[in-house]
Symmetry: C2
Subunit: 191 residues, 2 copies
């Protein structure tokens, strides 16, 4: 998606350790006009799919998922990072390893909100090693629901997450794939 | 706002300890059509204000703020619950006491995204004792920005938060104020 690639070039910053900082428009301050265009793009990319629910994970996926869900006219469910698990039986639960925060945390979704009848579009802001996404996929599979597609804003194409998810056969659409950001030069994959 | 009150009556559940559970449409599974109507309502209620930014706090305020911000055509900034503070000088920081989780946590907003030139609308899902909101107000005041208004989805009118905030002179608009929920009977304040 050219609009997103241009915005990353204009407002993104490359930091040491392959960090791409996009907190001025994507995941701290958030540009609703851009998110609307992203939502419309996913609606086009998944036009042939029947989707009745969007699933994301707190916190930075929520706004993107909410704006996008408007174009599918469906509700959003967000997976919660659990502080303490004392509601066993009522939730699907999975573990996600965070490289950024160097810890493993539990993620939960109430069983009331995803079930075998659901056709889910997963939305998140970033895909790098794929841990968060694999956690969300695990939850949808526990629920017996169908994953119709996965929409990611920015994929780090030089990390393994995208390949892992595509090799599993999921219909993954990343709006911008950064294949390299060596020497502060952003190279996007042609799509 | 009648639509929200009716939805709370229909889909909300009162639990012991004055807990109002609205996780099937407001803060776990989220109804975008309802959020759109809430956004339009705040736009009407704050029609005379010049607003250039919406501020909220992760996680359950984000989707409501994002959808509402579309009607003001402004970006959203969300305050982050900090895991570790090692970016002193770059962020505004405040402490918020959570009665639900019985802990105090640090909340941060990058100084890049709120400054003296900003006219802020604060949006959140719930107002009870007011701790989260007072934290957001503290951040906006640290930034020297102007608080043009505060939009809350559901206020618990029998707790102190609303009175504290209004007594400080802030223009607080709650779309539904629950004045009592004794014996499972919801009584809303006439507005």
């Amino acid at each position: 998606m050219k609009l997103l690639e241009e915005r990353i070039r204009k407002d993104g910053t490359v930091r040491e350790g392959n960090v791409l900082k996009v907190d001025n428009f994507l995941n701290h301050q958030m540009d609703m006009n851009l998110f609307q265009e992203m939502g419309k793009e996913w609606k086009k990319l998944f036009a042939d799919k029947t989707i009745n629910k969007v699933l994301t994970i707190e916190a930075s996926g929520i706004a993107i998922a909410a704006i996008a869900a408007q174009y599918f006219d469906v509700p959003v469910v967000f997976a919660k990072k659990a502080q303490s698990i004392n509601i066993a039986g009522e939730v699907y639960q999975t573990k996600i390893e965070s490289f950024t925060h160097k810890k493993t945390y539990d993620v939960i979704v109430s069983k009331k909100f995803v079930g075998p009848e659901d056709h889910v579009l997963i939305i998140d802001d970033f895909l790098a090693n794929g841990c968060a996404l694999l956690g969300l996929i695990d939850i949808v599979e526990q629920a017996g629901a169908t994953i119709e597609g996965i929409g990611i804003a920015i994929e780090k194409g030089f990390q393994q997450g995208g390949k892992i998810i595509r090799d599993k056969g999921y219909d993954l659409k990343s709006l911008a794939i950064v294949d390299s950001m060596d020497n502060n030069e952003l190279i996007f994959r042609e799509q």
